[in-house]
């Protein structure tokens, strides 16, 4: 049996900020969900099912918060699913929502991902000691810095690449009204001179901690074809997982990432990603992950990702714009970060990305990862309906 076509009909985002003290969790989710419904020209009553995603419950201190949020999300009397796959969850949640349409189970699905990090403290929520398990000391940076060092050594990359990525993303963020960080005075020197946090990762080469939610309305073929606005057709979805700790795995370019992207390229008929993909939103929580993921995703040969960054190819006006929204480096409500990547690709191929629109974006890759670089979720969306 073939998959049913599925398209993004509406996208909604909140303003991302360190502390959204003006709204409760319910208010935050409704802000994104209502904007997605408005974009889709639908009301709550049109929605068949709701799929919620967020990272660990300890980030807000509420067990399964979707239960108390069911009301705010208009889910009363409807099916409600809650996905949790670590940092990749925003992407996985979108993929699960898409699968409900692709399976022919539902016609219109509302999917929302969020994190309200100001309710708690994510770094310490990640640092709870667990018997017999390797501790993650003081947050994610300490865990990922050795992977970055290994990349720099292996690829013989110069020190300034991480600064270039941070500068690009923070500059792009100035064109995105929803972005958390709007650093009007961002400069190469300011990033270079910022405090070294987890050598070689500087303070300004690190994502912020944000409150925020992102929502999408996904629709079936008949729903998409009735839409007055342009839609983003889902051309491919995939998820792949590998263990946290395995001696033979490559933490710099994980096999699960390579397998996941190979699967979305296969589904979308992509054989030369650098030429065929018009733009990508990639999960880059520390700036050095851009060149690392460019290689893992097949946009550059092994050891060549940093050269692509240095050439300016990933700038907004480059051959392969990466994170024109400003990316995770500029807004990071963890559980939503993956869905923001996916939603931004949808906005781009719909031509609705505003000031950070990539000219002629027709096929785009959304990417999310999580855990110890072990959970991957990706999709490819396009302006044209896929040819079966």
């Amino acid at each position: 049996m073939a998959k049913q076509p599925c398209a993004v009909i509406g996208v909604g985002q909140t303003k991302y900020a360190a502390k959204r003290e003006d709204v409760s969790m319910a208010g935050l989710l409704r802000e994104a969900a209502k904007r997605a419904l408005e974009d889709a020209q639908m009301t709550w009553a049109d929605i068949d099912a709701v799929v919620v995603g967020k990272a660990p419950d300890l980030f807000e201190g509420v067990m399964m918060p979707e239960l108390f949020l069911a009301d705010a999300l208009g889910a009363h009397g409807k099916p409600l699913l809650r996905v949790h796959t670590a940092g990749s969850v925003g992407g996985s949640t979108a993929n699960v929502a898409a699968s409900l349409v692709q399976a022919g189970v539902h016609e219109r699905v509302l999917t929302v991902a969020f994190e309200k990090q100001s309710e708690s403290n994510a770094m310490w929520a990640l640092s709870i000691p667990t018997p017999f398990a390797m501790p993650v000391h003081a947050g994610a940076g300490g865990y990922f810095a050795p992977h970055v060092r290994a990349y720099i050594r292996r690829a013989n990359a110069p020190d300034h690449i991480g600064i270039l990525v941070a500068l690009k993303d923070r500059t792009n963020a100035l064109k995105n009204p929803y972005a958390h960080l709007h650093q009007e005075d961002v400069s190469y020197e300011k990033i270079r001179d910022s405090m070294m946090l987890w050598d070689p990762i500087r303070y300004e080469e690190t994502c912020p901690s944000s409150d925020g939610a992102c929502a999408m309305v996904l629709g079936s073929e008949s729903v998409a074809e009735r839409s007055e606005k342009p839609v983003a057709w889902v051309h491919a979805t995939a998820m792949r997982t590998e263990p946290t700790m395995l001696a033979r795995q490559d933490k710099v370019s994980p096999q699960a990432g390579r397998d996941c992207v190979a699967e979305v390229y296969r589904q979308a008929g992509v054989t030369d990603p650098y030429r065929q993909i018009d733009m990508a939103e990639i999960y880059v929580p520390f700036s050095w992950f851009e060149p690392m993921w460019l290689e893992n995703l097949g946009f550059a040969a092994e050891g060549e990702g940093w050269k692509l960054v240095e050439s300016g190819a990933t700038d907004l006006g480059g051959d392969l714009p990466v994170n024109p929204s400003g990316g995770v480096m500029s807004s990071n409500p963890i559980g939503a970060s993956g869905m923001i990547r996916f939603a931004e690709t949808a906005l781009q191929v719909r031509g609705l990305a505003g000031e950070h629109q990539v000219d002629g974006a027709r096929l785009a890759l959304g990417h999310a990862y999580g855990g110890g670089s072990q959970f991957f979720a990706m999709w490819i969306v396009g302006s044209e309906k896929p040819t079966a």
């Binding site: 049996m1 998959k3 409760s24 990272a55 660990p56 419950d57 300890l58 980030f59 807000e60 201190g61 509420v62 067990m63 399964m64 918060p65 239960l67 108390f68 069911a70 009301d71 889910a75 009363h76 009397g77 409807k78 099916p79 409600l80 699913l81 809650r82 996905v83 949790h84 796959t85 670590a86 699960v96 699968s99 409900l100 399976a103 022919g104 189970v105 309710e119 929520a125 990640l126 709870i128 667990t130 998820m239 792949r240 997982t241 590998e242 263990p243 946290t244 700790m245 395995l246 033979r248 795995q249 994980p254 096999q255 699960a256 397998d259 996941c260 855990g371 110890g372 072990q374 959970f375």
Partner: protein
């Protein structure tokens, strides 16, 4: 829709209540080996993996990550996780197979509720601004629900004890139960209240556990299983959690899920209900229109073993087992989640 069937099921066998040392993963690994071997599908050929568990039960972030290490995710696997009872992971896996992307899936749930104080942990499921700070625990909320039914004249404490006594006598015959001693209704009514009107056996036992199920589509299911349990309907619904707005003596979400699944129209041989509190079985029977011709929860259900986050999947597993062994032709497994039956799932199974 594609024909998809449960081809194998296994559950962790508890020695007794509060059994101590095994953690979630230690319970999961042998249970998974049993289910996967029984499925006849080589582990490396399983198309999709999906689990249900809770970080708050484990007391840490990303508790499912250790499970991924334990199942041997190498080469990398196609995998997902819900922060829900694994019955909803089963739903996600069923949807995945419906897309045509994969033909088989392994679904698992696990939880070690004895590691914390469950009724207080569950309080954290409530609205964090207006309700949770007041501290109502899961047993007290169920007691309010039971009291509402008594006040409305819908059931009595004796009706509740009838349910509990029947569950205990079923548990006495179920090697997976942690409560295995029969008691009469009068004995039960002679016990002290835990939270009035609930007595000890109106409430579920604290249970550690894990369960694992393998699904397969079409001919693959027929190849590996002599009598596959075909999923004929699969529906779930949620209600608002705003308890003050609800008539607690009924369950709209259970009624809607059952109606959508066609349960109300057709005769079922067996209905395995996930009713953690005795009166909730009465609510569910009414909501779903389950008649007297149906054998209700022959395993004893949640009143004799209630492993959190795998208990719902185990109900579907018990319903599938009755198809597998040929003692039933049409069965239903039900799962619930949230306070006072907030969320309900129905899975209808049939033999060929």
């Amino acid at each position: 829709m594609r024909d998809v069937a449960v081809v194998s099921f296994a559950q962790w066998r508890n020695e007794r209540e509060h059994q101590g040392s095994p953690n979630g993963i230690e319970m999961l690994v042998p249970t998974m080996t049993e289910a996967v071997e029984a499925s006849g599908i080589p582990r490396k050929e399983i198309g999709f993996w999906c689990s249900g568990s809770s970080d708050y039960i484990a007391g840490r972030a990303f508790s499912f990550v250790m499970a991924v290490d334990a199942i041997g995710a190498w080469p990398p696997i196609n995998e997902s996780h819900v922060e829900m009872d694994a019955a909803w992971a089963l739903y996600e896996a069923w949807v995945k197979i419906q897309t045509g992307e994969v033909d088989s899936a392994c679904v698992y749930g696990f939880g070690k509720s004895s590691a914390g104080e469950l009724r207080r942990v569950m309080t954290l499921q409530l609205d964090p601004y207006y309700v949770a700070p007041l501290g109502p625990d899961s047993v007290s909320l169920a007691a309010l629900q039971a009291r509402a039914g008594i006040d409305a004249g819908k059931w009595s404490e004796r009706d509740m004890a009838d349910v509990a006594a029947r569950a205990l006598s079923a548990g006495a015959k179920n090697e997976n139960a942690v409560r295995r001693t029969e008691r009469t209704v009068d004995e039960l009514l002679g016990l002290d209240y835990v939270a009035s009107p609930l007595r000890k056996y109106d409430c579920p036992p604290i249970t550690d556990g894990a369960s694992v199920m393998v699904l397969a589509a079409g001919d693959l299911a027929r190849d590996v299983c002599s009598r596959p349990a075909w999923i004929r309907a699969f529906e779930h619904r949620v209600d608002t959690q705003n308890i003050g707005m609800l008539d607690l003596t009924i369950s709209n979400s259970a009624a809607k899920a059952a109606a959508a699944a066609g349960v109300t129209d057709d005769r079922l041989d067996v209905a395995e209900l996930h009713a953690p509190f005795s009166h909730q079985e009465l609510i569910l029977r009414e909501a779903m229109g389950i008649g007297d011709g149906t054998e209700v929860t022959p395993s004893g259900g949640a009143l004799v073993a209630n492993p959190m986050f795998s208990g719902g999947l185990s109900r579907i597993g018990e319903a599938a087992r009755r198809i597998h062994d040929g003692t039933a032709d049409r069965t239903m497994g039900h799962a619930t989640s949230g306070p006072c039956l907030q969320q309900n799932l129905v899975c209808v199974l049939e033999g060929e």
